[in-house]
């Protein structure tokens, strides 16, 4: 059901919503970018509508609002473990169509990959998604190529346009909240076409593994892992056991985001690493996003948000690499 409000009315409703829900949305963090006097757009908890950045695409995805970068799984003493409480409040996450498609990938790995992840599940159940429209394509996104430019998998759609706000309510949980708005036919803004177009390689064979492209791009990569950390579909983590300094019999186990590009990812006891060479890491990442995941689950992992291309300090364009690979595989 669609409604129209004045922006002021919407701000009031939002303030009320923010009491009942923990709201996470993209926010401009002044000066917190990589370089001096450069901002970064990333997710944080907000309490008012004005804090939300609707225009600029977030540099980091919504993922951290659902899957914490650091998560304590349990605390241990000598003979007991304690599992920390999960979120007590329901959670609203503002995100775009590509990212809503990414949620499906996260769910696939954490809920529907042989077993359910207890920690992910208890947070996921509390989350409601608010779609932010995309009136225009972003610079590096290729959602249309990946078929992620449109979605109906949202609980709410909110658009602020000048002095007005438009809402589309899909989840009855919010009907009461928005019922006083003027009825209006609200259709989300979806991108139809991007500047970047990607053709996925067909006929991937064993030989594709040894493509020179991976060597070339691998040699340019500096293993910083930014492409993984901004990616809404990367799900890897590593485990850390922390023994508190004052009493090493007490501590906690955390899971922490990991990157297949960063040193140590494939290292095993004894010091052996399976993908020490950069070209192997590049191949692994790319093939996972556009081939391996699809082989297991029947659809592509990459949602084409283009954040990896936005962030790479070495100007490695993953989308260009894929297009080149598609040409090679013809």
């Amino acid at each position: 059901m669609g409604y129209k409000f004045s922006k002021d009315e919407m701000a009031k409703i939002f303030a009320k919503l923010a009491q009942d829900y923990d709201v996470f949305a993209p926010v401009v963090k002044k000066g917190d970018g990589t370089f001096s006097d450069v901002d970064v757009v990333r997710y944080d908890q907000v309490t008012s509508l004005d804090e939300i950045e609707f225009n600029k695409k977030s540099d980091y995805s919504f993922k951290e609002a659902l899957l914490p970068i650091n998560e304590t799984l349990f605390y241990f003493t000598e003979d007991e473990t304690t599992v920390p409480k999960g979120p007590e409040k329901k959670r609203l996450i503002f995100l775009r169509s590509c990212d809503i498609h990414a949620v499906k990938r996260l769910d696939q790995i954490y809920l529907d990959n042989k077993f359910e992840d207890f920690y992910y599940k208890r947070t996921r159940e509390m989350v409601r998604f608010v779609l932010m429209g995309c009136p225009n394509t972003c610079e590096n996104g290729f959602c249309a190529s990946m078929g992620t430019n449109e979605t109906n998998q949202y609980d709410l759609y909110i658009k602020v346009n000048g002095d007005n706000a438009f809402v589309d309510v899909k989840n009855d949980e919010f009907t009461e909240t928005f019922k006083n708005g003027a009825l209006e036919d609200v259709k989300p803004d979806f991108v139809k076409e991007n500047k970047v177009k990607v053709t996925l390689p067909k006929n991937i064979t064993k030989e594709t593994m040894s493509s020179e492209l991976f060597k070339e791009y691998g040699s340019r990569c500096i293993n910083c892992g930014r492409c993984n950390f901004v990616c809404p579909t990367c799900t890897c983590f590593s485990m850390q056991d922390i023994f508190y300094k004052d009493n090493e019999k007490v501590g906690e186990r955390r899971r922490v985001w990991a990157s297949c590009q960063v040193d140590g990812y494939t290292e095993i006891a004894g010091g052996h690493g399976f993908r020490n060479d950069n070209s192997d890491r590049m191949r692994f990442k790319v093939m996972h996003k556009i081939h391996d995941f699809e082989q297991r689950f029947g659809y592509q992992m990459c949602v084409g948000c283009g954040r990896c291309d936005d962030v790479c300090p070495e100007y490695i364009s993953y989308s260009t690499l894929i297009n080149k690979l598609a040409k090679e595989c013809e």
């Binding site: 963090k29 000066g31 990589t34 001096s36 006097d37 970068i69 892992g225 950390f229 023994f243 990157s259």
Partner: protein, 328 residues
């Protein structure tokens, strides 16, 4: 008619009396070395019309238009006016169209700064212009330079006052994924002030020079810059024929306003204690401090200066360097 020129006045008017009889050069100051490209056209015009068509890009980030006949000085000074206006250099009304009203205090130079450079911690040319506004015109021999980070590309330690950009790194452990990029970066590019303990980073605050390498290396924004900008103030570096030496740290984790105040206060110190024998009232400030003592300098420099609690002040500064004037 023979040339009849007051060379002392001409020099203070930013003219060089060249080695060739009757020929001079016009020195154009560009604070922070940052200017609208339109100025290049103006410089070109003067060089082609009055000079020999060549320009020297000076070591202090100005232009020196060479090969100008000294009898054209007045006319060229008029032509300098739009440049002076455009760069925004201080000028009294009565000095309009008369060229630069002083030359002793040198152009405040700067590295390219955070307009462009990924390492820089502040807008160096902006601060250079601010300082220029505060201290120009003045004929006392002051050299000030601004550099964006501890790499010191602007060679500020060769200046009386060197301003080095710093940032107080802010660490959010909840965003840290223990990738070690900051530890490796600090080790290879800076001072090795970081180490990992229990999968999180510990910063040795005694060692950290606030260069910001950890921030640029961090892939998750666990490291960010402080909202407040910090500076290191190095003092009394110099070149020269007697005792060249590198400037030493006076203030660390200082703020912009106090640094500007200290530079201005130092003018009072120099006015008071400059040697009466100094040729053309030109004496490196460091020699004056050597003569009257660091305590006296501090007394002047720190007048009305209230440092932030986090600012570290070196209460005694000792310089070394090469002594050409005292060889045994």
């Amino acid at each position: 008619m023979s040339l009849d020129i007051n060379t002392k006045k001409a020099k203070k008017n930013a003219w060089r009396i060249s080695k060739e009889r009757g020929i001079g050069a016009s020195r154009i100051r560009v604070p922070g070395g940052y200017c609208d490209a339109e100025i290049l056209g103006m410089v070109q015009q003067i060089a082609q019309e009055y000079g020999n068509g060549y320009v020297h890009l000076t070591t202090r980030q100005g232009f020196e238009i060479e090969g100008i006949h000294l009898e054209d000085m007045e006319e060229v000074n008029k032509k300098l006016q739009p440049i002076i206006d455009k760069v925004g250099i201080n000028q009294y009304d009565e000095d309009k169209e008369k060229g630069y009203s002083a030359s002793g205090t040198r152009n405040v130079s700067a590295c390219i700064g955070n307009n462009v450079c990924p390492f820089a911690n502040y807008n160096t040319s902006e601060l250079a212009r601010r300082i220029d506004k505060e201290i120009y015109p003045n004929d006392l021999h002051f050299k000030v330079a601004c550099t964006g980070c501890s790499n010191d590309c602007a060679k500020v330690r060769m200046h009386d006052f060197g301003i080095i950009g710093m940032t107080m790194p802010q660490y959010d452990p909840s965003r840290c994924i223990s990738c070690n990029a900051c530890v490796k970066g600090c080790q290879s590019l800076s001072v090795g002030a970081l180490r990992m303990e229990n999968y999180k980073i510990v910063r040795d605050t005694e060692k950290c020079i606030g260069c910001g390498v950890c921030v640029t290396k961090c892939p998750t924004r666990a490291w960010t810059r402080s909202q407040k900008k910090y500076y290191k103030l190095t003092i009394m570096g110099r070149t020269g024929k007697k005792n060249p030496r590198l400037g030493k740290d006076f203030l660390v984790w200082a703020d912009e306003d106090n640094i500007v105040k200290i530079i201005k206060n130092t003018y009072d110190f120099v006015e008071e204690y400059i040697s009466p024998n100094a040729p053309a009232r030109k004496e490196h400030i460091g020699y004056i401090i050597d003569r009257v003592g660091f305590e006296k300098f501090k007394e002047y420099a720190l007048k009305d200066v209230e440092l932030m609690p986090e600012t570290i002040i070196n209460n005694n500064v000792y310089w070394d360097g090469i002594h050409f004037d005292n060889k045994h």
